[in-house]
């Protein structure tokens, strides 16, 4: 078996473990699926008339607009949960078991991110299904849904890298858990739940340039309008930027951990 194939098998096995682990620990599932679903229900129920505001994008309903925000919230929280689970592995010594195996050590991080990607995709499917049930329309049809799922998975990897980097650098689940409120700050300073052009300054400018807004728009675009090359590439670029930085930081944190022993 070539080293590449061996490492890919390890990444797949660790990814599967990560998904199983999430569903066996209710406190990890709740933030990924339950909280964003509740927030979606509350916001669509309470703020549905926002679509009548001047400057609000042309949408069939507020739920159509909100789906992308819920998917991104879910993927952000999946990334955070992945980081917490990695830190728990470090705390209980499970990571040592993996580090003592003849595999690429970065496969341990990639395995965790593969699991986070699967959760991101699952979250996208979940919210698309909820949207369908409650009357949302995906303008780009099946292709649009596939696009949303793919972006959900990729953005989960990008956000998961942040959690992984903090977990590897600190080795403490409580520190990664401390990022939880930050997720909401970043979310509300983006166009996830409200159009950036309708947010008051200076938050509006922050939202306009927040990479999260580009990713959200990339997921929202196929729901509310037609596929736009510009929005697509901006979303890909934002994911690449966040992912490049976060995964790079993870690699540095892993190297530091291996060099210093913790």
């Amino acid at each position: 078996m070539s080293p590449l194939v061996a490492n890919l098998r390890v990444i797949a096995a660790l990814g599967a473990r990560s998904v199983r682990q999430t569903f066996r620990r209710p406190q990890l599932v709740a933030p990924i699926l339950i909280f964003p679903t509740l927030l979606l229900a509350i916001q669509t129920g309470g703020a549905g008339r926002a679509i009548d505001l001047p400057g609000f994008p042309e949408v069939d309903g507020f739920l159509d607009f909100m789906l992308a925000g819920s998917i991104i919230q879910s993927t952000l929280l999946a990334g955070n949960s992945g980081g917490i689970a990695l830190a728990v592995d470090i705390e209980m010594g499970f990571t040592d078991r993996l580090l003592a195996a003849p595999i690429s050590r970065f496969a341990i991080v990639l395995g965790r991110l593969a699991g986070t990607a699967a959760l991101g995709a699952l979250a996208a499917v979940w919210f698309i299904a909820i949207g369908m049930i409650f009357g949302a329309t995906i303008h780009e049809g099946v292709l649009g849904a596939v696009w949303m799922v793919a972006f959900g998975a990729l953005s989960a990897v990008a956000f998961g890298g942040i959690g992984a980097a903090v977990a590897l650098r600190t080795g403490k689940a409580s520190v990664v858990q401390g990022l939880f409120p930050l997720v909401f700050v970043i979310l509300f300073l983006s166009s996830a739940f409200f159009p950036a052009n309708l947010i008051l300054e200076p938050a509006g400018s922050v939202a306009e340039y927040n990479p999260l807004s580009f990713i959200v728009e990339g997921i929202r675009d196929p729901v509310i309008s037609t596929l736009s090359g510009e929005t697509f590439w901006k979303a890909v670029g934002a994911i690449a930027l966040v992912g490049g930085i976060s995964i790079g930081l993870s690699a540095l944190a892993l190297r530091h951990r291996l060099r210093t022993g913790g």
């Binding site: 620990r25 010594g93 499970f94 003849p102």
Partner: protein, 331 residues
């Protein structure tokens, strides 16, 4: 070829704490080597360096013929590792854990499944294989940890305090399994705070204190370095002085202790019967008689000036005699 060769190994942590301070050791193929020392002596740090989890800051080490710094991946392919406190995911089942371990070591799914099933049966966890590890007892976790370390048939097995915190029965089960593994040809390097564990399992013992090896050898040789077996005799009526005159014919008398006459016996148990006969011929009635062997604890005290304290949760309970019965049980 030696399974483990270590020369002048050092590991200093940020802040200047030198956990391992010039350790030299060699473990032959097929040997059980016990690294004995108290908490904080440098045992775990040494194991972490030898298993490539930590880079040394000085010296060099080769495991299974490969340098731990230059060729760490090949070292990891040749070793099995069961670290302190059985690092197992409580949410996984025993079977899932072994299957994952097989994948980590490049075994195919089928081979991993077969090997995993065989190992689970070997350590008596067949029935619990599909239960989550979180429901296992401490002894079951250690057995699972041991089984998972063996999935790829390692040449060298590292066990870091494999029985710390276990009850006497579980501890004995682990000892038996380690002995069987060694009989199958696996080299075993284990760390322990338990004197009786080192005494019972190891072909050779390295005693480590504050990062340095202070003594090394077979348990018998180490014990004979610090003294010979001695006999403690209590006589009905307390005729200690008369007894001392008789027993001095058999060996060097030692100062009486708590009303008992003591004599060093160069040939150990072989001389007990002649001593008893001589006392009987002198008209002295023996009330009790104990042949006291030097222990590794005596060796540790002689070499370091202090004793190994048992792990906190174990203090006063759970210790085993070399024959496997609880130390506090009647003989």
């Amino acid at each position: 070829m030696a399974a483990i060769e270590v020369e002048a190994l050092e590991r200093t942590f940020p802040g200047g704490v030198r956990a391992v301070d010039g350790v030299d050791l060699e473990v032959a193929d097929g040997e059980i080597y016990a690294f004995l020392g108290p908490n904080g002596a440098g045992k775990t740090t040494t194991v972490r360096v030898l298993t490539t989890l930590l880079r040394p800051t000085g010296g060099r080490a080769r495991v299974a013929g490969f340098d731990v710094v230059a060729d760490p991946a090949r070292v990891r392919g040749a070793i099995g590792v069961a670290l302190q406190e059985a690092a197992l995911d409580p949410l996984m089942t025993g079977r899932e854990l072994i299957q994952l371990q097989a994948t980590l070591h490049g075994l195919s799914r089928e081979e991993g499944g077969r090997r995993g099933a065989a190992l689970l049966a070997r350590v008596g966890l067949e029935d619990a294989a599909d239960r989550r590890v979180g429901t296992y007892s401490g002894g079951m976790r250690r057995r699972l940890d041991l089984a998972s370390a063996l999935v790829h048939r390692p040449r060298v097995l590292f066990l870091d305090e494999p029985t710390t915190g276990l009850d006497p029965v579980s501890r004995k089960g682990i000892w038996e399994e380690v002995t069987r593994l060694n009989e199958d040809g696996t080299t075993v390097f284990l760390t322990t705070q338990y004197l009786e564990e080192a005494d019972r399992l190891a072909d050779r013992v390295g005693i480590i204190d504050v990062g340095r090896i202070v003594a090394e050898g077979t348990p018998g040789a180490l014990k004979s370095e610090v003294g010979r077996p001695h006999l403690e005799i209590r006589l009905a009526g307390g005729a200690t002085e008369q007894a001392e005159r008789v027993i001095s014919r058999f060996g060097r008398p030692l100062p009486a202790k708590d009303g008992a006459a003591l004599v060093e016996l160069p040939r150990g148990a072989a001389e007990v019967a002649p001593v008893v006969r001589a006392l009987d011929e002198a008209g002295l009635t023996v009330e009790s008689l104990d042949l006291v062997q030097p222990t590794l604890d005596d060796v540790f005290v002689a070499k370091t000036g202090h004793r190994i304290e048992p792990p906190e949760e174990e203090a006063g309970a759970g210790a085993l005699e070399p024959d496997g019965r609880p130390a506090d049980a009647p003989a």
